[in-house]
């Protein structure tokens, strides 16, 4: 799947992206923000044409925010997002709206991301209407086509979102993202609301479609087994930062960051042995309002030293294509 490194064409480059959400104090907006939620800090990565990049992390680590800022759904605080050379953050709204055709998103909760009062046909057609594509009849045909592609029946055109099962809704979310024939699709936890037996249907479909349509995927998830299955490269996020990035096989064969190691070991594994030996991380994830100094992971890291507490580790290539932010990797 992953093309040879030399042949890879960068499609989307994220450079030092940061996003802070202000938290207002008792005087509201009057006296400015009191504190900031550091949702995403200094995140950089590149999406190459046709690949799937997996972003993994625990709840609140900033995965969704990364995805949303990349698509300009929420303004960046600093950094840039370059899509085919254009900085999306600096684009006027009108042009950004035009570019949306090529940058689509599949949302985490398939039910609440479908307007409950509209029939599926209308929901899927709306994207075409917005971009003034085709006439009425052709649009309808396009919808039938896309329904078929994601494995639904033309009959479903006339139904309301609540008349679908979870897996079907997720297919609808996908259909909506794909109907504009985008080049990049950000999938924000597209399977985490589904049962295992349905999850595999969606994952298989996603992989097939990617191959057929030549999509580039940014796949966000907290499920390590899923991300391993779907991605070519993986970034591990912790507290708003990417702490490690590597091609999938390399990462699983040889995780270097202590957090990655703990994460992998915490995953309940199907085995016949019963409770296995593992590194259970102590403590809780720190608050993004005041991230720890130095290495953000030092509060829970079994190997932390004084250096970790004071000095933020640099982002460095520890192996070919394998980057880690740890002093001791």
């Amino acid at each position: 799947m992953a093309n040879e490194p030399e042949a890879r064409k960068p499609l989307l480059e994220v450079k030092a992206l940061s996003k802070k959400f202000p938290v207002y104090g008792s005087f509201g907006r009057l006296f400015g923000a009191k504190q900031y939620v550091h949702a995403v800090t200094d995140v950089s990565f590149t999406l190459y044409e046709g690949e799937t990049y997996g972003l993994v992390g625990e709840s609140g680590s900033g995965k969704s925010t990364t995805g949303r800022t990349i698509l300009g759904l929420t303004p960046v605080t600093s950094g840039e997002v370059r899509y085919r050379g254009q900085d999306l953050a600096k684009l006027p709204p009108k042009q950004l709206r035009k570019l949306r055709r090529e940058l689509q998103m599949v949302f985490q909760d398939p039910y609440s991301s479908l307007n409950p009062r509209k029939r599926i046909g209308r929901i899927l057609e709306e994207a075409l209407v917005i971009h003034r594509i085709d006439d009425r009849q052709r649009r309808q045909q396009a919808v039938f086509r896309i329904l078929q592609i994601v494995g639904l029946q033309p009959e479903h055109y006339f139904r309301y979102p609540h008349e679908f099962s979870g897996g079907q809704r997720q297919r609808l979310g996908l259909a909506r993202a794909l109907i504009l024939q985008p080049r990049i699709v950000v999938c924000d936890e597209p399977v985490s609301a589904l049962d295992v037996s349905i999850q595999s249907q969606i994952l298989n479909m996603l992989r097939e479609l990617q191959g057929e349509l030549g999509l580039t995927l940014l796949f966000i998830t907290h499920d390590i087994s899923v991300v391993r299955y779907i991605s070519d490269r993986i970034g591990i996020m912790y507290l708003g930062r990417i702490v490690e990035e590597a091609p999938t096989d390399a990462l699983f064969a040889n995780p270097q960051h202590p957090y990655t190691k703990a994460l992998f070991s915490a995953v309940p594994r199907i085995s016949e042995r019963g409770l296995k030996e593992r590194t259970v991380l102590k403590g809780e994830i720190p608050s993004p309002l005041s991230p720890p100094s130095g290495c953000v992971f030092h509060t829970r890291c079994p190997l932390a030293t004084d250096r970790c507490r004071s000095e933020a580790p640099a982002w460095r290539e520890t192996k070919p294509q394998h980057h880690t932010a740890c002093h001791y990797a």
């Binding site: 609140g60 039910y111 917005i130 009849q137 078929q148 055109y157 609540h162 909506r176």
Partner: protein, 313 residues
């Protein structure tokens, strides 16, 4: 397989299917309607009142304004089914005409407040700076008790039906706007709004095609209450002498006049009182029924999507 979707017969078939599905949908809501007694009774009583208000006076042999002072305050009889008032006018005719005015004011006020409230609420929810200005004004208006505001306005504008409507609209709009705003604020944060924005929709499209329709169902319910409140407030204003000026009959007017003869002419307070209570009751029932009808929880018995993960603190 993908190809044969494009042929015309296939499209026709789907068109038919769509019609069938829509019919089913309609049947389903018919069913939900049939078992919604609040809604049915409320609508029936209200409908009956409206019909009576508009055709009743045509059937009555009396003029609501014609005075026969010698016949004043006669109890109900064959000639005057509900008796006569203090000027010898036929009470039934006046109550029916009063229904026109009272219900008419209710309807107009409801439409005006809903429209204004919707516009103010939706825009306030969408545009932050506007929000602050609009909501401060609304706060101010809400903080000042409605009936007093209405009385002051009536004193300023002078008593007339249209001024009653203006006054009541000013009184009721802020709270409607607030309700709409709070729903719209919730709707605005819904993922499907973000989803449609991600498709490249313009703000106007988002506001009017997505936020407004979804903020509408609380409005419908509240509209029924505004309707009821407007009728009551008109009566209260008239009762205080600040409502519709006589001789035009409104329920409030008739009740106001009945106050001084209450121990002598029970019919003057009883019948318009019943009409008033009945209409407000039916409106409240309608509102309740509507809420149940529109409440998605009453149709989806099961649970929504599961395993929604905990949001970070």
């Amino acid at each position: 397989m993908v190809e044969n979707i494009h042929d015309q017969s296939q499209l026709d078939r789907l068109g038919q299917l769509g019609r069938k599905l829509r019919r089913e949908q309609r049947l389903l809501s018919c069913f939900r309607l049939r078992t919604n007694y609040d809604l049915l009774i409320g609508a029936a009583v209200l409908g009956a009142l409206i019909v009576l208000a508009f055709i009743g006076p045509l059937l009555s042999p009396y003029d609501p304004l014609e005075m026969k002072v010698l016949d004043r305050l006669k109890p109900p009889s064959a000639a005057h089914w509900l008796g006569t008032d203090e000027f010898g006018r036929d009470l039934l005719t006046r109550v029916l005409h009063g229904a026109r005015l009272s219900l008419g004011i209710g309807i107009t006020v409801t439409l005006l407040t809903s429209l204004l409230g919707l516009i103010i609420g939706v825009y306030a929810a969408f545009y932050k700076p506007l929000d602050h200005i609009l909501m401060r004004i609304c706060d101010g208006l809400i903080a000042f008790p409605g009936i007093l505001l209405a009385i002051a306005l009536m004193a300023t504008l002078g008593a007339s039906a249209s001024n009653v409507i203006i006054a009541l609209t000013i009184v009721f709009t802020p709270s409607i706007a607030r309700t709409i705003r709070s729903t719209a604020l919730v709707v605005r944060e819904q993922p499907y709004i973000e989803a449609i924005r991600a498709q490249g929709a313009t703000n106007a499209r988002i506001i009017w095609l997505h936020i407004a329709p979804n903020a509408l169902s609380p409005l419908l319910v509240q509209a029924a209450f505004v309707f009821a409140e407007a009728i009551l407030s008109e009566a209260a204003l008239s009762f205080l002498g600040a409502g519709i000026p006589a001789p035009a009959p409104s329920w409030g007017n008739i009740l106001q006049a009945s106050k001084s003869v209450i121990s002598k002419a029970w019919w003057m307070v009883t019948f318009p009182g019943i009409a008033l209570v009945l209409s407000v009751l039916s409106l409240n029932m309608l509102g309740d029924g509507l809420r149940d009808f529109l409440d998605p929880r009453s149709k989806r018995k099961g649970k929504g999507s599961r395993r929604v993960r905990r949001v970070a603190p």
